[in-house]
Amino acid sequence: MKKLINAPDAVVREALEGMELAYPDRLRVSYDPAYIVRADAPVAGKVGIISGGGSGHEPMHGGFVGPGMLDGACPGEVFTSPTPDQMMAATKAVDGGSGVVHIVKNYTGDVMNFEMAADLAGEEGIPVEVVVTNDDVAVQDSLYTAGRRGVGITVIAEKICGAAAEERRSVVDVAELGRRVNAEGRSMGMALTACTTPSSGEPSFVLGDDEMEIGIGIHGEPGRYREPLAPASVVVDRLASAVVEDLPYSSGDQVLAMVNGMGGTPLIELFIVYRELHAFLEERGITITRPLVGNYITSLEMAGCSITLLRLDDELTRLWDAPVNTPALRWGA
């Protein structure tokens, strides 16, 4: 295992300290329990938005804390959902009197821990609305399974809910909007290499030099199927076909298209993927009106990418364009 770390079990804490030192004016960090809130939290009269999940997906979520996006983030251990006490403390820290929205990726652990936190918040009289994201089409959705995973759309939901909260919309409204974003969004990812959690020290799966894994999750979970390494155009075809057919997206749709790197993929490759995605969608009459290319929701040092589409309307576009001022996503500010 080759990592720029000091000790496997100090990774999350030390990275948090690094973030706090790097953004002293923008973020406030608590260590026990661990959470990050924007420096001016709580914002009176504004719905608070928190998210959280295992670490190892940076910049998600801590990098999205700031005006126009999240009020707070709860980092768990690497690839491990945070705990209810973190979420509860963050919820209290960001509640400006208008309630708090929890944006939760659909994983058993995340959902259960956030459920317990919402129960606790309810007991303390803080109205909490929960938005569960489950956009990963690689996983079959069924009542009898854990359901689809929450992946790339989470970032976009955080941005759009954040913009709505800045407009002082109600906690119910903001959550409703988050659910709409989730409903209009779909994702799928792939890997060229696995990743290694600091605590296990071993790659999460083993891929041959000439293989790639399609449909991976963001926790080093193996994917839907494995196949021989192929050109970027084929990779995009695999991912984008599954994404487009699932909703489905159709001719005339305007979309936000995110090409996301899994952490170990250089930007030059992501632009090639974006080029392929653009061609793929254009062929189907789907127009990208808002692009986002970069590393936003990662899996440690995994090489690979994911594609997320969100069907846009005027409202979603306006909220996407609204100013945002976070370490990892910033415009208009």
Partner: protein
Amino acid sequence: MGCVTPDADTIDHAAVVAWIRRFAAEIDEHRAELVRLDTAIGDGDHGTNMDRGMRKVVEKLDGAAGDDIGALLKAAGMALVSSVGGAAGPLYGTLFLQMGSATGGAATLDTAGLTQALEAGLRGVQARGKAEPGDKTMVDALVPAVEALHRAQSDGVAVGEAARLAAAAAEEGMKATIPMEARKGRASYLGPRSVGHQDPGATSSYLLLRSAAEAFANT
């Protein structure tokens, strides 16, 4: 610690403390194995998660006095909830919290008391996680253990032996997860590719029962 008198019909607070310490030691010892099992069909953190949690529980124990078994189990549950995270945190946390509720105020437990406690814990786990037997989760180790305890109770078996029978049943339940296709938790994403692997949570649940058997056995 002679917390159980030979062939005792009940266990006391000290015996439950011994059980928890034993479980913590087993988790520590099998940490790497649990990580390996979870790497195969999950995200490779189950051993680390449980170990982090049980260390916190043991820290709490060091300051635990009194003879209220329920309070002890609840404190363990709270420590797990706020330190484990992932799926195991709420599930094991709930297991211990519910065992604590079922034994609130009790200074000793006989076979019936232990049975009620574990059954309450199992109900909590199922309420929280919605898993049924056969879904390839910790439930598959806990259900046979609870059944074995019920049988032991009707057969009038003493608590130490009852725990041994429960552990044996949990071991069978754990092994039975190998051919199952996961329908809950992270392993479910693998669908048929989850077949052939033993469930990490069922494994840690077996360790929980084995720890009880060891802690409650005649010394």
